[in-house]
């Protein structure tokens, strides 16, 4: 493999430096690099490719998503592993965790290995399958978690996402069982009885619109229970798409106790509120639902202070017809891979809540640690794998879903101006995106 030299990149947002990639690894970081550092490459001393970051672009470790719906197998009309990983690369991701709610459900070694293999073949980013906690996501019987952990896919994250593991005994057993292989249960916290027929956040807006409410307490009561269960059995639990100020308080409390509780927040919960539902446009229909302004501010603060460990997209592609209908008939979910970094820049960096090193931590290092994913979320230093994203934070653009790499277009940001653009993404030294375009 040949060498790539990036000149004048703000490494983790710091002073501009040169970064030399040799093969699959970072060969050197410093000023005034010639390309000859670290010994000759395949083409000799001179790098085959030189990228001028103009002292302006920011270099971060490749992003890691703990929560992606790639839909394959089963719903290839909305996304495939190939189109989903292409979208991930465009968004600056080098690894995504593929959620288990496919058809068939990823609850056996066979299905997770299939998804893992499709990821390998795609070549756009690493695909780490998530295994279902229970057979068929039914919440009744544990899936063969050990078989999935021992499979070629080496599953470490288990989740019934889309459904809550609401039975306290099943949840307790799952938390205990995954300790044997350092796994983690990622809980979709939603008390089912409190959310029957729920359509949007329960609050002033739902009362006026006459839409059945999804109360914050339905999320918070499950989080409270699972924190206590995890502490009781000495396991770790991860909270998916935490969405309320009350949930933040619970996780903060658990961390103050020293318990191994981690949490993620989606980009859309950092920006959008339930006021948007007044349009009855199902593009804003998502689970958990968009909450209030106070929740949004609490989530941003918690992400900044580390109470919330990471940003996860909950990228949820749906075909057009599933959104081109009345609210109640519409599917829940939004695509997010291609806009996540821009939304985080807009809500966290441009507001001064988080610097670029913080973004690297919340969008790469911490999710990789939670997912026990080797080779990702590493420091930017010589000898580390060259999983990188180079972004231009000065860019301003209007979101146009027609240009998405994802097969689906259900973005809530259409027509909205967002800052920043991924210029290039490198997966083990190989550019998957260059000048904003898939290679």
């Amino acid at each position: 493999m040949s060498k790539i030299l990036i000149r004048g990149a703000k490494v983790l947002g710091g002073e501009p430096q040169d970064v030399l990639i040799d093969g699959e690894t970072i060969a050197a970081i410093g000023t005034g690099l010639s390309g000859g550092e670290g010994g000759p490459g395949a083409d000799g001393d001179a790098p085959a490719t030189v990228i001028d970051a103009e002292g302006r672009m920011v270099l971060l470790p490749g992003l890691v998503d703990l929560h992606t719906h790639l839909r394959e197998p089963g719903r290839e009309d909305s996304e495939t592993v190939l189109t989903g990983t292409r979208a991930a690369a465009v968004g600056g991701y080098t690894a995504v965790h593929a959620m288990a709610n496919t058809f068939p459900v990823a609850d056996t070694a066979g299905v997770v290995e299939q998804v893992w293999r499709l990821g390998k073949e795609s070549g756009y980013c690493d695909v780490q399958p998530v295994g279902a906690v229970t057979v068929g996501l039914e919440g009744k019987q544990l899936a063969e978690l050990g078989a999935m952990a021992d499979s070629a896919a080496q599953v470490r994250v288990f989740s019934d996402d889309g459904k809550c593991v609401d039975d306290a005994v099943i949840m307790r057993r799952a938390l205990e069982y995954v300790k044997a292989f350092d796994g983690v249960v990622a809980q979709h916290a939603q008390e089912p009885r409190l959310t029957e027929g729920a359509q949007m956040n329960e609050g002033t807006v739902s009362g006026e619109l006459g839409l059945t409410g999804w109360p914050a307490v339905a999320e918070e009561s499950i989080i409270a229970r699972d924190i206590l269960l995890a502490a009781h059995v000495g396991s770790r639990v991860h909270i998916c798409h935490l969405s309320t100020a009350g949930s933040v308080e619970l996780v903060r409390w658990a961390k103050s106790k020293g318990w191994d509780v981690t949490a993620e927040v989606t980009p859309h919960h950092l920006l959008l509120t339930d006021e948007l539902v007044r349009t009855y446009n199902p593009v804003y229909k998502v689970n958990p639902p968009l909450r209030t302004e106070a929740d949004v501010l609490a989530l941003r603060e918690a992400l900044a202070d580390g109470t919330i460990d990471c940003v996860a997209t909950d990228h949820a592609p749906h075909p057009h017809e599933d959104k081109d209908c009345e609210w109640a008939a519409a599917a829940m979910g939004m695509v997010g891979l291609e806009t996540a970094l821009s939304v985080v820049q807009h809500t966290m960096v441009d507001t001064g809540l988080l610097d670029w090193a913080g973004v690297a931590d919340r969008m790469s290092a911490r999710p990789a640690v939670i997912g026990r994913l080797a080779g990702h979320g590493r420091p930017l230093a010589a000898g580390e794998p060259a999983n990188l994203v180079l972004l231009d934070p000065a860019y301003r653009g209007v979101v146009n879903p027609a240009g998405f790499a994802s097969r689906s277009r259900n973005t809530p940001y259409e027509g909205r101006e967002l800052p920043g653009r991924v210029f290039a993404t490198f997966l083990r030294g190989q550019a998957t995106v260059m000048d904003g375009k898939l290679t």
């Binding site: 006026e208 006459g210 409410g213 209908c325």
Partner: protein, 341 residues
């Protein structure tokens, strides 16, 4: 007036008074031997009913027919909808048939809003009840009825005290009434057990009470809402008998109302549940009158949305100017009666 009537909040005070005053003119037509105006001749009104509602549908049907519109009734049962056709495709079909107005009843809150804003159709959309959201023509006919009893034609409802009792949480009638009555200056009190009040109701432009007896003596119009017995299974209240004891209207409670106060109900009534037969059959109960007023009010709504801003029953033969929102075919003319010549 806006082009669609989706929410009672779409109506300004002047809009609402225009509808009510127009409805008064329409009501006079009902007293004539020939109850028909030529106003909407050649126009097509589609009644698109995804939920069973005989009362509201025939009320709209009568209203449209009295204005000489062509009426197409489209009900979900036994139609393409039951075969899985989407709202969008149904709308495109109606558009292709040239619907000038679509009166829609739908079980999903917001469906009329989607129909009006999605670009699927060009005609006016009238919300005839959507999920647990709104039912603006019901609120208009209720206001029309209240005005006749409490303030008089041409007036608003400034200072009148309206109490609405029952399942506010699931009631589109209550939502539309709170908005419209507030616009018209009335003072609204909602009465229900706490389980049947929506979260955030304290921010609505009204007062809330859990105690029916405490508000009876200061009520000018008491509106009893239908309580579905299936709510009982969802633990909104312990038993039907307990609900009736605490929130039902019987003769004893009616006697506490001021002399001039009226009792209203959007129908259909659950006799013995929220209202006793004694009250339902008393002269103070306006249920039947509300039905008659419903036709006049819906005539006014259809006329104003499709016909324009000219007086419904002109005294001169002046030709009206078509309004921008009306389709070009059939220049809008003011409705005239044969007797006015």
């Amino acid at each position: 007036m806006k082009r669609h009537l989706i929410s009672a909040a779409d109506l300004s005070r002047d809009d609402a008074l225009l509808v009510l005053d127009t409805a008064e003119e329409m009501a006079r037509v009902a007293d004539r031997p020939i109850k028909k105006l030529p106003t909407l001749r050649g126009r097509t009104v589609v009644n698109l009913f995804f939920e069973d509602s005989t009362r509201t549908r025939i009320s709209f049907e009568a209203a449209a027919k009295r204005l000489s519109a062509d009426v197409i009734n489209f009900s979900a049962k036994g139609s393409s909808v039951s075969k899985g056709e989407s709202l969008k495709d149904t709308a495109l079909t109606l558009e292709a048939m040239g619907a000038d107005a679509v009166v829609i009843r739908h079980g999903s809150s917001g469906a009329p809003h989607r129909l009006a804003t999605s670009g699927w159709i060009n005609g006016s959309v009238v919300n005839a009840g959507d999920g647990t959201h709104e039912h603006p023509t019901q609120a208009l006919l209720d206001a029309f009825t209240m005005r006749r009893h409490l303030s008089g034609v041409g007036r608003d409802l400034e200072g009148r005290r309206i109490t609405i009792v029952g399942d506010i949480l699931h009631s589109r009638v209550a939502r539309s009434n709170v908005l419209l009555l507030n616009t018209l200056g009335a003072h609204v009190t909602l009465v229900a057990p706490p389980t049947l009040l929506p979260i955030g109701v304290e921010q609505w432009p009204c007062e809330v009470s859990y105690d029916l007896d405490a508000v009876l003596a200061r009520t000018d119009a008491l509106m009893m809402l239908r309580v579905q017995s299936e709510r009982m299974n969802a633990a909104f209240f312990p038993t039907e008998r307990e609900y009736t004891r605490r929130y039902g209207l019987d003769g004893l409670r009616m006697a506490v109302l001021p002399e001039h106060a009226i009792v209203m109900h959007p129908g259909p009534m659950n006799r013995g549940m929220e209202i006793t037969a004694e009250v339902a059959d008393s002269p103070r109960c306006t249920v039947v009158e509300q039905v008659a007023n419903g036709v006049s009010t819906r005539m006014a709504v259809l006329y104003l949305l499709l016909g324009g801003s000219e007086p419904a029953i002109a005294t001169t033969s002046a030709t009206a100017v078509p309004v921008a929102t009306a389709p070009a075919n059939g220049a809008t003319t003011a409705a005239r009666t044969e007797e006015s010549k």
